[in-house]
Symmetry: C2
Subunit: 427 residues, 2 copies
């Protein structure tokens, strides 16, 4: 925990800058940084960081050897050369202090029908202590917090004694390749903090995620002899039911997972996008569904993939259309392991102290049934990876919003964490 | 049956023109006359008929008072002002002979994925006695037949003694408003022939068709607490299952229909287009499915519509998402009655004689579980409406093709029918 003097200086700086931080977050939200369209935000962010005096490395996924890494995930329909990453570095005078990566993703998921939003999804509207918009909470609030935590140190006259990399990445919502690319680019540190909107809790473990596309295509039985089960839409329904049963079986196995044994049905299966057919009076000959399925940290990605394939193959037997037209599975995104932040790390201890100082309460832990980027740093590159940040609601839904008071407090706890982890000059 | 001399002269003319007829059909197929995009074909057809000396009336659906007719169907997403109809009239010298309308639709249904076609769908390729393409059989072959049946009379030196209207219409595959518009425009005759691809059979009865769009939209249960039944795609699956059960009940009732009692399950329910969600990892908050359901000629359209609405409403109770988010039903196309061609008409007797003369075999009858335009002429405007024409396969599917030898023979039987029904001068 920082000493009281430092904490007070940081709090004063966070408070003094909070109007600017809120405006910065609203600016971030106004970029519709959907997958494949993140570059304008990243360009703007790179300029903003350069203006603050950071040394900025801006590169695309086409510039790193992703395909050579076993944990890279396939990207379908997105050009790696358009997927821009930013690493803004502030080097310490010496090399003695502990270094830190703070990383946020700036890709957002689609907003859905505009009319289902109370406030326009890319307007950055502030009402009653909340900032609204797609990505406001997941996780542009965390990105604003990391920038203004560093600004608070600067304005408090404190210089971190360790190197700091502020990283904004893409692809967190689809593959994770953005986070991986920063590691392949060479960035390392003694700890990593990812300020996802955890509501001020530390993420003890998260499940993994797989994406796959089921495509059913073939010559249907003629409508004149069709009763049921002979059209591609109905066949996809059949496969979805089979995968629901498969998920139930996986959740039985999940009871043995050390981290998730107490969570009821931690494995979520979600058919998220469906499209098929082109005419109400034609028997549809094709249908596709994009799906997401989870896995516990103790399950192997390859094994769960084979399980999905076996479940789909087994379902063919019960369907007239599929028997003659084998469905195609494309693994078109996430092939993400789960991750467990083992308790007891020095980084977590320091963060808990900073949280206690800022919030006046203990930092609680949570389990997440959704993936985040910490697995790259923590599971594959052996640095303690802390997922901890502000909070709100409506991620991936409507009226997404982040709580501004939580943002303010988390900005302070992050500033205090930086000061304690890296040490500061000027204290 | 025409006398042998006339039949021989017609046969010689049909044969002499058959290469041109095949080329004409290929030209028709090369127009991708999908719904809303039929106008270029109609313009071309109008010019072709004017060049043959017909008096041509070209008008759009915006020029007739469709909305005033109870049997008009809603058009969604299509501009009536772009939906062009053509009536090409050859008036007899006197008004003594029996008049005749021959009508064909030139709209086609979407072709689906191009790679599933052996020959390109809009190329008009001829192979081994078949002409391939979307609409080649359904029903541009019939349109070619009606034009070249009339050409055969002309080249045989025979002038019909009754007025003839050759009509090409749109919207047969979606509403029927094209056929209705010719009646609202004022065209009437003593009989109507629609040369749908019946393979040289007469259609004794056809079922009706309804189109509806089910739209599910609402705030889903959060993915963190979602197991099953809480996403819009799964809810649409639930509604489809309910409508399958409803269809089974309708097919029980269909056993009482005088025309279709011997047909197993004449009521077909088809979910034809589905679309929903926008992200594999977001719980989908909306899903739409475009459906088609049939009815027997003895069922009332309004009653079947209410039945579908009740089935959907009843299904809400069993679904967590739908209980809070009522699905919306849009009746967005067909509201078509079935039709029975009562046996014994003079028109059918004359057609049977022409068929016998051309084919050397009796004209058989069929029952159709798909709708066609005859209902307007026969059921609402009290003229005998004969559905009889060439034949092939692949309607609404892949590798649609029409049989050229059947086209040649049907062109002859249609020419003979015109000669016998209207009478001819120059015999």
């Amino acid at each position: 925990m920082p000493d009281t003097g430092i904490l007070d200086r940081l709090r004063a700086a966070v408070d003094a800058n909070f109007e600017a931080e809120t405006a910065f977050l609203a600016d971030l939200v106004r970029f519709p940084s959907l997958r494949g369209r993140e570059a304008p935000l990243q360009d703007w962010f790179a300029r903003a960081m350069a203006a603050r005096g950071y040394q900025v490395d801006r590169f695309t996924l086409a510039e790193v050897p992703l395909e050579a890494h076993e944990k890279a995930a396939p990207m379908v329909g997105v050009d790696p050369a358009g997927s821009v990453q930013v690493v803004a570095t502030r080097r310490a005078r010496g090399a003695g202090g502990r270094s830190l990566i703070i990383q946020g993703h700036i890709d957002v998921v689609p907003e859905g029908p505009a009319e289902m939003w109370t406030h326009p999804p890319y307007a950055g509207v502030v009402r009653d202590g909340w900032l609204y918009g797609r990505g406001a909470n997941d996780m542009k609030a965390g990105v604003a917090a990391m920038v203004f935590a560093m600004d608070a140190l600067r304005d408090a006259g404190l210089t971190p004694a360790g190197d700091i990399h502020l990283q904004t990445v893409t692809e967190e919502e689809s593959t994770g390749n953005g986070a991986l690319s920063t590691l392949l680019r060479g960035y390392r540190a003694d700890a990593c903090l990812i300020p996802e909107p955890t509501g001020g809790t530390i993420t003890r473990a998260h499940t993994g995620t797989l994406w796959f596309r089921l495509r059913v295509r073939g010559v249907p039985v003629h409508v004149a002899v069709a009763d049921t089960g002979t059209n591609a839409i109905l066949s996809v329904m059949h496969l979805i039911r089979a995968l629901q049963e498969h998920t139930a079986a996986l959740n039985e196995r999940a009871k043995e997972d050390p981290s998730f044994s107490a969570v009821r049905n931690p494995i979520k299966f979600n058919p998220g996008i469906i499209r098929g057919g082109d005419w109400a009076s034609s028997t549809p000959a094709w249908c596709e569904v994009d799906c997401r399925i989870g896995l516990t940290p103790s399950m192997e990605v390859a094994e769960v993939m084979r399980g999905v394939e076996r479940a789909v193959e087994a379902a063919r037997a019960g369907d007239a259309f599929l028997a003659n037209n084998p469905p195609k599975i494309t693994w078109h995104g996430f092939q993400a392991d789960g991750y467990v932040l083992e308790p007891g790390s020095e980084a977590e201890r320091v963060l808990a102290g900073a949280h206690r100082a800022a919030f006046g309460a203990e930092m609680e832990e949570r389990l997440s049934t959704a993936v985040n980027d910490t697995r790259y740093y923590g599971r594959y590159y052996a640095m303690p990876a802390l997922c901890y940040g502000p909070g709100g609601e409506g991620n991936h839904g409507f009226d997404e919003r982040t709580n501004l008071e939580l943002l303010r407090k988390t900005t302070l706890s992050m500033a205090a964490f930086i000061a304690d982890w890296c040490g500061v000059e000027g204290a």
